[in-house]
Subunit: 537 residues, 2 copies
């Protein structure tokens, strides 16, 4: 009844995930997309073979290398080309475009693989001492530049790959908590928890690769957040190594003993410390799961229905509502006839009795709000492809289609203004000189009593300068989000790509507070430079 | 169906609340308590009449006074004795003992009453410039020394009374949020929200006096936290004045744009800024309320039942379970026959349909866990007295009884070990030389999937040095809590009284982080000195 706990293969260096899952377009799909977006049949963004990459020589000073080897063992300081290339960045479209073009100039000088908290601490001490930038690396799935090995003025940068921190440290079955090391990927974590009868319930699109430490560092939110909560709300306590020592905030299920310092580490994206261990709320593996599709006449009616669910406290495990455009494109991709209106996916998980009770309350609410239940069949296509959309992006790039996503969140009362503003910004920036408009799809998900997140998917002709075109679109969308007073990211984090809007987000004094925390914990400034916190001007 | 929105009278200077609500003991109650605790009939802690107080002259420098008058208007800088005495501290038992003894040496040099955010900011600027400690003051109900006007090495201290910040600024009925000024007391806030059909649902014992700004600054949690959540989880965004400028964190219903800076202000107890406005999640005034008492054979069975509710997500609006001692003492106070076992109070509020559905699930769970429903009647006494217990404390002091409460929280698996340790510590410290043991009562409340809070009420012979006796008991209980790895406060905050355990709570590096934030926002160090953050050693 829960997610597959299968382990996927090592991620490809130049595309999303396991090459075995690649999903090339059929010739007819390619033709249709080309017609819609105005792309010539022979367009396409070529890939550079790995053997032809121009990798600059590593610049790790010998004394730093020796100190790192002393910290983790010589065999765990990898300066080989394969490892460096695979830690050259994350999985944003700009990352993929750079790698297709053969540009791995940003690759770290070494990949360091510590085995536990103390070794992470020793690496940080060594990096602070020798002036080496250190970039924490979990699943490498950042789509905002969060793992780009920027040197930040230092002579060298190392990727701190946490894959060896892969233990389930403890399970408290009575309190339903589990302590996991940070480098555990979700399928591995689920496999370990399943042996105790538990699940985490965290299912972002990056599920196959992303790690529990990465989720904590970026304030991730998964597709089942309506039922299981966003990741930051699952964290009971955590442990982080910093160049100044260890932080272990979180006592009791909740506290009034000063500000919640867990929340300073959650979302800190490796800029003030490296999360090595998290104690999380876990759940019994659900006995039952029930999927149901619903249709609404339009997006406004559908979002009002989601709002009714969130505000009445009748929470399904998962709820998401596609707008008209996304509904019809998904129907085409599923080989179904495009129907008018907006499709919602609703899932309930849990004990049989509770699923039945909540499902009934939920269905009543949705019907009263103007929805029509369509049964479980229409959910099957979504479910089978729920982690596969990023693979499709690579196939689209192969066909000359620039495809990317971005997301935000706001209050219910501002939701439609925000959607219109972002849609207009993306359409304005990505319409080709010949007048071909991009496809802009949107869904609402991650519902809260006060509002929801909006997730945009855009597809457009790549053109001669796809990187430049995406930068312009991202800038326009980000400015539109900031002008609406919405958040620049609901669950993708900040990294490099959202940093220009951080001062809008938290104000200049908020930025100063973040800098003060960083200066205290990382006085040398070696931790993930160039991310999250805006540069001093 | 919701709480009374009545406004109570101005709080007494030397006891808990509105003198009209004082609840003197009957002669037979006094005799019974004296017998149980070994107190002579003529014992009792006398009160010093206000006219006999030895109030030291104010020491506010004339230039500081002029600057404050420029900030808020001369008529809003009150240096009169009545105002100073009423801002001399909070409502802990040590506070009450000091005032009974006529000691108001800690009174502030003036009470400053700003009218809005900009005036608060101007007061902070003036205090930073002239070196005057500034102690934010809401309802004055702190039981941990949070509003004690410590000078922290400065020549003078002012109480910053926020009562004039009493507006409902905005209501967003669609998103169900309301923006309230910080100085609003709960009954006034509920009255303003009721006009829009909303309620806050926050009902701590300090309900009559405490303010929304105070709740935010102390991470309050109310009796209905199972249904409405703790106060920090209700805060969508907030606004704070600091000596360095304004902070306004909180965009969208949630965000991944860096650490959640709202959480740095929540629980900061006026040490880094003054919260002037909060935007809160609100709820429709419930159509229905249903109270039900339940009995369990013992505390372990009862807490397992509460755990089942919290972990299954079947959340009543309110749930609390008294241990055997508290159950029998409450029965005596209600004039009922003492029954064996442990009594729980369960309340459901909301729409009729939802109340019925959740109530059924809840009752099933409690029955399966070994509980027996007793109907609504046994809840009536608890409900009518829910805000009155602190008044009883004053009557007990009149009778020579030292009575106080303290609270903590931990995981379900540690709950009983913690209860035993704290009970033993309190009993050990408060047994009289003649061998009379104190009464130590406990209840579990504020349930979470991972654990719960434990709330202790203790009554003992005051003896010749009640202040010293309480300090010893508090020290023993705090050490027991820290040794168990529990939090030093679940909802009373830190103030002066819990500061000795803050380094246990967040670690030395956590303390450094708090200091760094304070140094950034309050470089002069004038904001509520001596609270929350341990002194540099």
């Amino acid at each position: 009844m829960t997610e597959p706990t299968h382990r996927v293969g090592e991620a490809s260096w130049d595309s999303w995930g396991d090459p075995a899952h690649a999903a090339p377009l059929t010739p007819s799909q390619r033709e249709l997309i080309g017609q819609v977006l105005g792309i010539a049949p022979d367009a396409g963004l070529p890939r550079t073979p790995e053997a032809e990459l121009r990798l600059p020589p590593g610049s790790l000073p010998p004394d730093a290398r020796a100190a790192l080897a002393a910290a983790v063992g010589d065999e765990n300081v990898d300066t080989g080309a394969a490892a460096r290339v695979r830690h050259a960045g994350g999985k944003s479209t700009p990352d993929l475009l750079r790698r297709r073009g053969g540009d791995v100039s940003d690759a770290p000088d070494a990949v360091v693989l510590p085995a536990g908290h103390d070794e992470v601490a020793a690496v940080l001490t060594a990096c602070a001492r020798y002036g080496v930038a250190v970039v924490p690396f979990g699943g490498g799935t950042s789509v905002v530049g969060g793992v780009e090995p920027l040197r930040g003025g230092f002579a060298a940068a190392v990727a701190l790959d946490l894959r060896r921190l892969s233990r389930l440290v403890a399970v408290d079955a009575v309190s339903r908590t589990a302590t996991l090391q940070a480098g555990l990927r979700t399928p591995e974590a689920e496999e370990l928890l399943a042996a105790h009868g538990f699940t985490l319930g965290h299912r972002p699109q990056s599920y196959e690769y992303a790690t529990v430490g990465g989720y904590a560092a970026t304030r991730s939110s998964g597709q089942s957040s309506a039922g299981y909560g966003r990741f930051d709300d699952m964290v009971v306590s955590l442990r982080a190594a910093t160049p100044r020592g260890t932080l272990e905030p979180g006592r009791g299920p909740s506290s009034a003993a000063g500000p919640d310092l867990r929340r300073l580490l959650l979302g800190s994206e490796g800029t003030v410390g490296v999360i090595t261990e998290v104690t999380l709320r876990v759940h019994p593996r659900p006995q039952e799961r029930h999927d149901e599709a619903w249709t609404f006449p339009d997006f406004a009616t559908g979002t009002a229905a989601l709002r009714a669910l969130a505000q009445d406290g009748v929470r399904p495990t998962l709820v998401r509502l596609s707008d008209e455009q996304e509904t019809s494109v998904n129907a085409v991709l599923a080989g179904e006839e495009a129907a008018p209106g907006c499709l919602a996916v609703v899932t309930h998980e849990g004990g049989a009795e509770r699923v039945a009770a909540v499902r009934e309350l939920c269905s009543d609410t949705l019907r009263r709000a103007g929805g029509t239940g369509l049964g479980p069949e229409r959910v099957a296509h979504w479910r089978s492809g729920r982690y596969l959309a990023p693979y499709l992006r690579d196939s689209l790039l192969d066909a000359g289609v620039l495809a990317e996503t971005l997301e935000t969140a706001t209050t219910w009362s501002e939701l439609h203004r925000l959607r219109d503003a972002v849609t207009d910004a993306l359409a304005g920036a990505l319409t080709t000189p010949e007048g071909a408009a991009p496809l802009v799809l949107c869904h609402a998900s991650h519902v809260y009593p006060e509002g929801a997140s909006l997730y945009f998917t855009v597809a457009a002709a790549a053109g001669a300068d796809p990187g430049g075109r995406w930068r312009a679109a991202k800038r326009a969308a980000g400015d539109a989000i900031a002008a609406c007073g919405a958040t620049i990211s609901h669950h993708h984090a900040v990294g490099t790509d959202h940093r220009p809007w951080m001062e809008d987000e938290v104000g200049p004094l908020g930025v100063e507070v973040l800098r003060a925390v960083k200066d205290t914990l990382d006085p040398a400034g070696v931790l993930n430079p160039g991310k999250l916190i805006p540069e001093r001007s």
